[in-house]
């Protein structure tokens, strides 16, 4: 499969995990989109450095050829999937660890 196909599938899988598998529903929340808007700026910057200086090199045959700040647009999708899935797990564990915290209250230790 080409990077383009995988990147689209990656975004779909990350959103599906958020909505239906882990049910964190982050993509329905304002905090997620505001955070992503901040992250994507720095992602384009660091990705632009990695690609612009040729540290990471892409096979032209595996992408559409469309580029944003030196990096293929597929990287934007890859980054979205990575960030979305990370934040999904972070919130999911937050719920779970919080629940076990309430079942076994430890007032002196608020570390999860």
């Amino acid at each position: 499969m080409s990077y383009t196909v995988l990147a689209v599938l990656g975004v779909a899988a990350a959103v599906a995990a958020d909505l239906w598998l882990l049910r964190t529903r982050l993509v329905t929340r304002r905090i997620f989109w505001v955070s992503y808007a901040i992250i994507v700026v720095f992602q384009l910057l660091s990705n632009g450095i990695l690609t612009g200086f040729g540290i990471v090199v892409y096979d032209p045959g595996a992408t559409t050829g469309l580029r944003i700040a030196y990096a293929p647009v597929e990287d934007l999708l890859f980054g979205f999937a990575l960030v979305t899935h990370t934040l999904t797990w972070w919130v999911w564990w937050g719920r779970r660890l919080d629940r076990s915290l309430r079942r076994h209250p430890a007032p002196t230790n608020r570390r999860e």
Partner: protein, 143 residues
């Protein structure tokens, strides 16, 4: 450049960590302060995305300038630098989410007691955001 050039990729990652460190230090994001939750978050993410990376490297979707990476290769021809990428970027993402929460107080769905989620689903997200504003401020009560 010479030997220093091999640290190019790592330098980008170090800049990401240094750039986000003030969020933990001054906004009270408490991401590094919750190592268990952070590790449990990183584990599935690293597994999935390293698998993708190993496949992409094998399929030739992307490659790395051998002069700009450490040269340490893990199984699957995965450069050490890439493994670190999948640790650093998620940490920065979580720090950003927690920084936005610390500053704006918006709910993320993991608030204790689940009351904020319940209120938000009833259409009161703005009230929740205002109500939690003081809670999320630096030095305030952090869940």
């Amino acid at each position: 450049m010479g030997a220093m050039r091999h640290l190019s990729y790592l330098a980008v990652l170090a800049a990401c960590l240094l750039g986000t460190a003030p969020l933990e230090l001054f906004l009270g994001t408490r991401v590094y302060a919750r190592p268990r939750r952070l590790l449990l978050t990183l584990l599935p993410v690293v597994l999935i995305f390293v698998a993708w990376d190993v496949y992409a490297i094998a399929a030739g979707h992307w490659s790395f300038d051998p002069r700009s990476i450490t040269g340490v290769r893990l199984p699957g021809h995965l450069p050490l630098d890439e493994l670190l990428f999948f640790l650093v970027v998620p940490v920065c993402a979580v720090l950003t989410l927690e920084a936005v929460r610390a500053v704006r107080g918006w709910p993320a769905g993991d608030e204790p007691g689940d009351e904020p989620a319940a209120v938000e689903e009833a259409g009161g997200a703005d009230q929740v955001a205002e109500g939690r504003g003081t809670v999320g401020e630096p030095g305030g009560v952090q869940g």
